[in-house]
Amino acid sequence: MIYYIGSLLLIAVGLYAVLVKSNLIKIIIGLNFISSGVNLLIISVGYINNGTAPIFSRLGLNPNTMVDPIPQALTLTAIVIDASELALAVAFVVLLYRHYKTLDIKKIRSLKW
């Protein structure tokens, strides 16, 4: 349960950052918060207290106590995606700074209406 709450909190913090912070870097951090929260959520879906790894390396392991492997696979994929997004975002920030000489999102408003 604590994991769920934790993940939701992470997402909420991320959303807060994205919504309120005006620094580009902080927004990116906020995005990362969101993705971390989501990842945590995925993991916690498959998590079982005192579970074992879902690998039949030893005999006698109870399949019921095994952690669900699928979420872990999903998380890995999601992390890769997040990483690439993050890289792209940082690249954008660099370019933005070159054009606008600022990191304040409130001043980057050439496109509107």
């Binding site: 580009l24 959520l41 954008f92």
Partner: protein, 496 residues
Amino acid sequence: MVGGAHPILLIAVPLFFVFLIVFFSSFFKGIVKYLPIIAFGINLIVIYQLIPEVLGKGMVISTTAGFKPPLAIDIVVDRLSLILAAIGSVLGFLVAIYNVSYIDEEPQERYYALFTLLVTGIIWMVVTGDIFNLFVAFEVTSIAAFGLVGFHRDQGAVEAGFKYLVMGSIGGGMLLVGIIMLYAATGTLNMVDLAQKSVHLTFGQKFLAYSMIFIGLGIEGALFPLNAWLPDAHPAAPSSVSAILSGIMTTAAIYALYRLTNLMFDYKQIYTILLFFGLLTLIFGEVSAYFQQDIKRMLAYSTIGQTGLFFFAFALDSANGFQGSIMQIINHSVSKALLFLVTGGMILRIGSRKIEDFAGLGRKMKFSSFFLAIGAFSLMGLPPFFGFWSKLKIIFAALQNPNFFMVASVVIILLMSVVEGAYFFKLLQNMYFGKPAENLQISEAPAGILISFTILGLILIFISVYPTPIINLTHQVANDLMSKSYINIALRLGGL
């Protein structure tokens, strides 16, 4: 598979070509610009092979990695997916031709790689039968799109790209949350399996998951108020990319929403909410478009409006509504892509995106103007163009059970059509009869551009004057959606 039609090839081949592009870029750069043409050419062949089978059996499934569904990721092509995949491939192919003349900015290999990835992701989104796979395809598409929007790397492009990225990422996160909720509740990711297992869920549970998915796909699918990135991103991107973004990417996201709504969240209440979203999107899109001075921005807002229209039709939750919606999607994809391609060529020649600078182009760029007019007519829904048939269907569907709300909605739709007519006629009038700037010396668009939009325009003319096959096909699709035959056929064909 029978007949050698492998839907997985739709994704695998272009992905392979993405690697080829990156591979060749280091030592054989000249070939890079032609690789996407080959990739989507092969895709077209695959689609062509798929057509008889999909139309005959209703669905073609191919599984991956030797697992069996629901564990494995399967690629499912039913009639609806086929329509969208076909549009995607055709647009991908034509825009690939277009690129040859259009893109001269370095680094080209990145552009071509991202472009191929974008179209692949879109096709991927519409053919996947696995909900997490959908997310992956969604993110592939998004990231490629982020990159392409910022491709010009000038002030506007970077800003638009960044905004799009932030909103897209949030959307991706929300989509994933929704997917995980579904997984947590049912323990499966396969759509067919989900559809069956989710029957036991309560409405509240479903609604929570649905709202998350809706936000994720809604951001990508340009539903109001989640669409604020779109009017920035579409104009900022190169016109070739805008054509893809407007023509098929938002549509693909909407497709995913259709599919999931239809399979798992088939509640009257949800449809009612969607109805409002459709109407709001329509109103805000069309009204905003009217005030634009920048042609690409106008077209982008128009995309929002069109999205609202076909989303509204879908939310009618009736066979006629579905049919109208899909017809409108076809119309929108072809016409709007055509418009973006043509305006891309024009912008290339006159070097401005301002509508008033288009004055007198009707004389200088005859073909371009002609196809621009045809695309605009079809979007406005003037007969005898295809948009007329689809609009007719949508309005008829909306008034199937006339009550006050529906009549009011139809009045709004028609009013917005008037607004749409107002800005398109303003554009056309200016283009054909406006006074050109002093000694405006421009020639027709370059060959690649000309070829690609001519083909697209001819396709549009063809389906306009001979709409029967498409009407029949969409009728079948609508029946498929109504009867949820997706589940049944998939079960029969071993999709589960």
